[in-house]
């Protein structure tokens, strides 16, 4: 069987069953959230941009926000046969690409995205088994739905599988 790589864009989410791959390219301040059911070999990936749908009027695109994006990802996975008790999470991204000496909240958005992601996963009782977040550089991630491994690639900051 050919292995397909399914691309997930900014403010988007998607699912894959083994042996397919899910990827999101060039994560900056956004956060990539992966959920994996290792018994049923079902994987999901969301690429969120902002922490909370509650602070914003324009909140129809659920995948744009950590709170609604994770919820939507979970529900879609359950629909195709994942079991919530099997799910574990891995997260990557949330960096600060530019540095300014200001208190502008916009620029700390990466950190806020990571905090909101962790708090939503905790609320849903989904354990984060590994993460690669923060710093000031971009990341490309690839999730393998065969074993749930998450490959993280950067420019000048190495690569690893978490």
């Amino acid at each position: 069987m050919d292995v397909n790589t399914i691309k997930v864009g900014m403010a988007d989410l998607n699912l894959a069953k083994a042996p397919h791959l899910l990827t999101t390219l060039g994560l900056g301040s956004c956060v990539g959230i992966t959920l994996y059911d290792k018994i049923n070999k079902i994987a999901g990936l969301a690429h969120i941009m902002l922490p909370s749908s509650k602070e914003i009027k324009n909140n129809e695109n659920k995948a744009k926000f950590a709170d609604t994006g994770i919820e939507e990802l979970l529900q879609s996975m359950l629909k195709i046969g994942a079991n919530k008790n099997n799910l574990v999470a891995k997260i990557a991204g949330g960096s600060q690409m530019f540095n300014f000496n200001s208190n502008n909240d916009m620029l700390k958005i990466g950190e806020r995205n990571v905090i909101a992601t962790k708090s939503k996963l905790k609320e849903l009782n989904i354990k984060i088994v590994s993460e690669d977040t923060g710093g000031n550089f971009g990341r490309t991630i690839i999730l393998d739905s065969t074993d749930g491994s998450l490959y993280v690639k950067t420019i000048g900051h190495g690569e690893k599988t978490i």
Binding site: M10, L25, G26, S29, I155
Partner: protein, 204 residues
């Protein structure tokens, strides 16, 4: 007038294009005098992009680019960014330092020179806008990042993500005469500043 990025009319787009034209004209002149070469400037594009398409304007999510980013405050609030690919960056620093370096590595001096070029371009753009509208614009010091286009452009995308499902980028492409250097200058005003600009121009 309520401004909605997801549904901008042609009249608004024309005004934004003209702002881009006026801002970038001075910036092109400044760049030309810095490198003592002729610099061509395209008609500005007003791009309204889906978030998933944003990185395509700089060659795709994983393309290595240099982004030099500025915050605008006072009457006009928002950001500006000058972006160029690694080849253009090397050629540009070679012109500035009058040398021939062929490897694609930027040292600290190069990075500092690129920040300064971005600074001069963004400042001349902001000055023209300020002179045209009579609005005060304070521009921050530059912050530079050399990384994947997707990661760099996630910053302006998130800026618009707060208010819309599209990013609005007023873009001007500069090209040095022999095509050795090409760069994109983006003006990224917050929507709250649009009404102020329109009022200042007498079109609201």
């Amino acid at each position: 007038m309520t401004i909605n990025v997801d549904n901008l009319n042609n009249f608004m787009i024309d005004i934004l294009k003209e702002l881009g034209n006026i801002g970038a004209g001075n910036a092109a002149t400044a760049l030309a005098s810095m490198i003592s070469k002729k610099v061509d400037m395209d008609v500005p594009n007003v791009r309204i992009l889906e978030f998933s398409q944003v990185a395509e304007i700089l060659g795709g999510e994983e393309n290595l680019v240099i982004g030099i980013y500025f915050e605008l405050t006072e009457d006009i609030v928002g950001n500006m960014m000058f972006a160029l690919d690694i080849n253009s960056a090397i050629n540009l620093t070679n012109m500035l330092f009058n040398r021939k370096k062929e490897n694609l590595e930027l040292d600290e001096m190069d990075i500092s020179a690129l920040s300064e070029v971005g600074n001069i371009l963004a400042s001349s753009y902001a000055n023209s806008l300020s002179a045209l509208t009579g609005l005060k614009i304070f521009i921050s010091i530059p912050s530079i990042s050399i990384d994947m286009a997707g990661a760099i452009l996630s910053v302006p995308a998130i800026q618009y993500g707060h208010v819309a499902d599209h990013a609005l980028m007023i873009e001007t492409i500069f090209e040095e005469d022999q095509n050795l250097v090409a760069g994109n200058l983006f003006f990224l005003p917050d929507l709250s500043s649009f009404n102020k600009i329109l009022t200042a121009l007498g079109v609201n």
